[in-house]
Amino acid sequence: MADAAETTLRRAAERVLDNLAELEPELVSAGIFKDRRPVAVTSGSDGWPDAAIEVLEAVEAGSGGEAVDSAHIAASGGEVFVVRDSGLELVAVTGRFVLASLTGYDMRMALRDAARAESSPSAENGEPASA
């Protein structure tokens, strides 16, 4: 049963990451995490999930114990966004100078979409649970 739920979440996460890549032309790579474990990752690099988890843990440590909603880190080579919603975390790497508010909004909607699919598998294809 847990495997089925994990498969549903993974499929939904892969779908929302595809959608996110279409919405964000500057998106380089992204991954969805649950309980600090990767659910779906767009990067083909083996080290990417661990590096993303390190970002999540560093943000957690830097929050001073306060509940984190999101984080935005700008570096010379690109930008990293972290958004938490619905028990999931999305980490995204983008090019420089993207519109932070739009990127954050799209990431949040992606997480809610994935979480909705997890709680109601019939909504996995974007259909409302009541349909």
Binding site: S45, V55, E57, A58, A61, D69, S70, A71, H72
Partner: protein, 67 residues
């Protein structure tokens, strides 16, 4: 009517103003930062050079390198 050398001076100073503004904008855009938003709605820019911000920035740079 302005003397010719005044016209040249005005031109030159307007170009230098433009160049200075361009450099300021570029410096601002290249600035690195670590910004955390909390559930309460509060937002914090962690000071770069501090241990927390440096750890986050280092982790982010590694992630960016992976692509």
């Amino acid at each position: 009517m302005l003397k010719p050398h005044r016209v040249v001076l005005d031109k030159v100073s307007s170009y230098t103003d433009e160049a200075a503004a361009f450099m300021r904008r570029r410096r601002h855009h290249r600035r690195e930062f670590v910004r955390i938003r909390f559930r309460t709605g509060a937002e914090a820019d962690l000071p770069l050079g501090g241990p927390e911000a440096d750890r986050i920035a280092d982790a982010a740079r590694r992630l960016i390198e992976f692509g």
